[in-house]
């Protein structure tokens, strides 16, 4: 058979990292041996939020959802036997991106490469952290400055680097519609490019280069035809913006370059094998159009909603990409949608919607003011609430979750046990030991001088990168670097967006019933029922907490919700001062056991041991048993999609803890 000419496939990655630099390094080398063509590093939450492994806020989180990188020693181990001058590495890092990039450069230098040779990506979109991803540290102003500094530094010194990946991915994961994804990602890109221009760090004649280095990180949901059109809309809009707003002449510099992780929000805990179909269909959205094809793809695993994937789960996801790229004929054709009127009509509609929403952002003063006033976040929470209501009504069908629920036992998930990756419980202790050993052998005078220099640079407008690279070589830690900037820039908490107005169509019978029970129980107890929704730890997954809070208000509860990243002490303090009837914790980062334990201790100290506590989130079955035995009143996971049932439960839990007869008689 004659060999047809095929396009080069996209970069294939798996988002991974856990426990320690050593363990993750082994994983990366195995993955590369399996045909993966680039690396995608997942960092743990302390690293992403700028805390050392021994910080009180890091307890329970070290090495859980990613690799802990505390200093240049860890970074060297992470890339041992992986020549950085020949690798393409994507790092999902934002608030501390300048620091992790500095460590990467420093390690490459120690391996004998120069910055010019490096290729890869730092996510470095701190704007969407305020809206969805939650690993922000500093206020918006300084965050924009950090993004800008990385862009300006890399354009000059690491020309093949993608300094920022403007993300719409996380917006869809927080409920955004395709139009919102387009509008907010492009508004963010404009904010960033304007800031670079204004910083004066780049000569006007080099500005085209900057525009050409901006890349995007996009989502693809299950409505794959519309998603396919969304990618085409991105391409058209970016071409227009870069031409009209920034006057970019070179067509190549106007190209919409993007990487993808497909939708995970729609992946279910119930009948998890169905996730495989979903993932494959979603992958089509970003690969079918040659003119709007992804440059890099990473796929979630079938057990996404159960917990962290094991190497085999990730291998399966990688194989999906390989089958599409190497077995099918996809890469043999030109653009198969060019000339389709149906597709173009949808693309045009998306473009129109996006331009209107971008104009509204501008009316709000641009992306930053629209974040500070809570405008954008409220739009996202509203969209997500609509999605949840549609699932509740059955208008949005999710197979295995709200329809076709009957199933034979699955051989993939054995009874009473979770089919997920378990991180070695000793990882945290060992990481702290390594940190202490590292600190003991470094030159303290050099560290102090590098930190003093960093602080001085942070206070002026000078680029942060050279000072940070100096810190990297000197042996500064992640916590130290971040703390210097915390001292100079301050910290920030964005609006939660849950103060949306709820439109009332005629409430369903079940909603009426819940409201009546909430009201009458409040009367029996003398005052309206109050709930505290708390997000302890470094976990940034706010969707569940937001939706529970919105729903609970809608059925008549008074709600206290203070946003993400609270300490157990802060939660206990709020519970006491606000006189709540119930505390609902939401934890998706895997540190629920440690955090529940600490919160019980704090509640005990505050004399609140009798307030019922419930826990929701990603809780493996065996941990659910532990939590219940420790006194947690109930545990909810993604399979408990029916919010009305949850609300009825909450009323009964409050009733029982106050000596009232519950409404429902639960079978024991």
């Amino acid at each position: 058979m004659e060999k047809t000419k095929r396009d080069k496939p996209w970069l294939m990655r798996t988002y991974s990292g856990y426990a320690s630099a050593r363990v993750s390094n082994e994983l990366y080398r195995t993955n590369l041996a399996k045909g993966q063509t680039g690396l995608s590093v997942a960092f743990d939450l302390p690293t992403q939020t700028g805390y050392d492994s021994d910080h009180p806020l890091a307890r329970g989180e070290v090495g859980k959802v990613g690799v802990p990188i505390g200093n240049i020693g860890d970074m060297e181990t992470l890339f041992e036997q992986i020549p950085l001058g020949k690798m393409n590495t994507s790092m999902t890092i934002n608030a501390t991106a300048a620091w992790l990039l500095s460590l990467y450069v420093a390690v490459a230098e120690r391996q004998g490469f120069t910055p010019v040779q490096l290729e890869g990506t730092t996510q470095n979109d701190i704007i969407k952290e305020y809206l969805s991803r939650g690993t922000y540290i500093y206020p918006p102003g300084p965050s924009i400055r950090l993004i800008t500094d990385i862009i300006c530094y890399t354009v000059k010194n690491i020309p093949k680097w993608n300094p920022t990946n403007i993300c719409s991915y996380h917006l869809q994961e927080a409920g955004a519609t395709p139009v919102q994804e387009l509008a907010y990602a492009l508004s963010t890109a404009i904010t960033v490019l304007d800031a670079v221009k204004e910083s004066g760090q780049v000569n006007p004649e080099d500005f085209e280069q900057v525009v050409g280095r901006i890349s995007f990180f996009v989502n693809a949901g299950i409505r794959f035809v519309e998603e396919c059109c969304k990618m085409r809309a991105f391409v058209e809009l970016w071409d227009k913006i870069t031409r009209e707003r920034y006057g970019v002449q070179d067509e190549k510099m106007r190209r919409f370059r993007y990487g993808v992780q497909v939708n995970s929000l729609g992946l279910t805990e119930s009948q998890p094998e169905n996730n495989v179909q979903r993932i494959v269909l979603e992958m089509l959205a970003v690969s079918l159009s040659k003119n709007a094809r992804a440059r890099a793809v990473q796929l979630p695993a079938w057990n996404e909603a159960l917990g962290l994937p094991r190497p085999w789960d990730q291998q399966w996801a990688l194989r999906m990409q390989q089958v599409l790229a190497f077995e099918t004929d996809l890469l043999e054709y030109g653009d198969i949608f060019d000339g389709s009127m149906v597709i173009q009509a949808k693309v045009d509609a998306l473009i129109k919607g996006a331009e209107e929403e971008m104009a509204r952002v501008q009316e709000n003063g641009g992306m930053i003011p629209a974040i500070e006033t809570g405008y954008v976040k409220r739009q996202l929470v509203t969209s997500h609430t609509e999605r949840m209501r549609a699932i509740e009504r059955g208008d949005l069908q999710i197979v295995g979750l709200n329809c076709y629920k009957e199933t034979a036992p699955s051989p993939l998930v054995s009874e009473g046990e979770s089919s997920i990756m378990k991180v070695d419980p000793n990882a945290e202790r060992e990481q702290i030991e390594r940190l202490n050993a590292f600190k003991a052998q470094r030159n303290q005078a050099e560290v102090n001088a590098a930190l003093a220099n960093l602080a001085a640079v942070a206070k002026t407008g000078e680029n942060i990168m050279p000072a940070s690279i100096r810190c990297a070589h000197a042996g500064v830690t992640t916590g130290e670097w971040s703390q210097v900037l915390r001292d100079v820039f301050g910290e920030y908490r964005p609006p939660t967006g849950i103060d949306i107005s709820l439109q009332e169509e005629s409430p369903s019978a079940i909603v009426k019933l819940v409201r009546e029970r909430v009201r009458s129980t409040g009367e029996e107890l003398g005052r309206p029922l109050r709930i505290l929704v708390g997000k302890p730890g470094l976990d940034g997954h706010s969707n569940g907490a937001e939706q529970i809070a919105v729903k609970a208000r809608d059925v008549g509860f008074e709600i206290v919700y203070e946003g993400i990243r609270l300490t157990p002490q802060q939660i206990a303090k709020a519970a006491l001062e606000e006189g709540v009837h119930l505390i609902g914790l939401s934890v998706l980062s895997g540190s629920h056991l440690e955090l529940a334990d600490e919160i019980f201790k704090e509640l005990g100290k505050a004399g609140l041991a009798d307030i019922p506590v419930i826990v929701g989130g990603i809780i493996p079955v065996e941990d659910e048993r532990v939590l219940l035995s420790q006194g947690v009143a109930a545990v909810y996971t993604p399979k408990n999609i029916d919010m009305n049932t949850i609300m009825l439960d909450l009323v009964d839990i409050i009733r029982q803890s106050n000596g009232l007869q519950p409404f429902e008689q639960k079978a024991a």
Binding site: T496, V518, D554, V555, F557, E558, V560, L576, E578, G659
Partner: protein
């Protein structure tokens, strides 16, 4: 388990609150919120046991009002920071809107008020839903402010801020600050037209917005030239920024100077004694309308007698309520 639904002993609770026991204060606020008859009786005894001298002469009860989004909570956060540096114990009552559909509420001010809190703050915040009340307050605010006054140097009440005219808070606080939003002429119009009661201090927030804030301040100052409050206090207007912190120390000083002015003119205790009458009148008005007030002898007379009478506000209110209902039954 039992401890939770058994009512606390009111006398012991009052003593613990006066000793600044935070858990006791929290419990007393729950009690003051509790509408069950036996709880109301306990709450009455609790209020009667609080140190009366303190409630009449000590502490500073500050009201902060203004349109939604003007920055009341942010400003409170910035003030907390100043007061903490001055080593003052602070309690906050923050009122949020309730949903008219479900009665549910999102108590969201707390988040902003802790914006300056890096974990070390000891400020005590209780949020309240307005629960259908007009005037930006809820019925529970005033009794709760008494419990807080027994425990803290400064008690600040943030109102809902539903409309610029509603300034009920000035009837239940020593010092009322009105926070204006730059470039929104409404409050100025209301002031000029005399629809809005004059607050004690006018604050233009968001000074960092530049020209708009300066313009609003100038307009307010011109309007204010003619505004002196009934007691003779000349109302100051100043601009601040909760975000950058500019003007906040000054604002704290001005707030404090009004408190001093009240004591120097022997007005503090008289002012506070009026709160009870105002509170009961408002309850009666909301329940029975103007008709009810007339039935009970008319506003001036009623107010006069309420200010004179000793005893728990709950008892006074309940007895007037019974009196009205008895009259009404007889006439129908």
């Amino acid at each position: 388990m039992l401890a939770r639904h058994a009512l606390p002993d009111p006398e012991a609770l009052a003593a613990a609150v006066a000793a600044r026991d935070r858990a006791a204060l929290a419990r007393s606020l729950n009690l003051l919120d509790d509408k069950r008859p036996q709880a109301r009786r306990a709450a009455s005894r609790f209020l009667a046991t609080l140190p009366g001298e303190r409630l009449n002469t000590a502490g500073h009860l500050i009201g902060i009002t203004g349109p939604p989004g003007a920055g009341k909570s942010s400003l409170t956060s910035a003030l907390i920071e100043v007061w903490r540096r001055r080593q003052l114990a602070v309690g906050i009552l923050a009122v949020d809107p309730s949903s008219p559909l479900s009665g549910g509420a999102l108590l969201g001010d707390r988040l902003r008020m802790l914006a300056h809190d890096q974990g070390g703050s000891n400020v005590f915040i209780r949020s309240l839903a307005c629960r259908g009340e007009f005037g930006g307050l809820s019925a529970e605010v005033w009794p709760m402010s008494l419990a807080m006054l027994a425990a803290f140097d400064i008690v600040l009440i943030e109102t809902v801020g539903v409309g610029q005219k509603e300034i009920d808070i000035s009837k239940m606080s020593d010092t009322t600050c009105f926070v204006a939003q730059p470039a929104s002429g409404d409050s100025i119009q209301f002031l000029k037209a005399g629809i809005m009661e004059v607050p004690h201090i006018l604050v233009v927030n968001k000074e960092d917005m530049g020209a708009a804030a300066r313009k609003t301040l100038t307009e307010l100052r011109t309007t204010l030239k003619k505004q002196i409050d009934p007691d003779g206090w000349q109302v100051p207007a100043l601009s601040v920024s909760a975000t950058t912190g500019s003007g906040i120390e000054k604002l704290a000083d001005v707030i404090d100077s009004h408190r001093r002015w009240l004591t120097e003119h022997q007005l503090l205790a008289t002012r506070r004694k009026r709160f009870q009458g105002e509170w009961i009148l408002k309850r009666l008005r909301e329940e029975f309308g103007r008709f009810g007030i007339e039935q009970l002898g008319g506003e001036p007379l009623l107010f006069e007698s309420l200010t004179q009478r000793q005893g728990s506000p709950f008892d006074l209110y309940d007895s007037l309520r019974d009196q009205f209902l008895a009259n009404w039954k007889r006439t129908t």
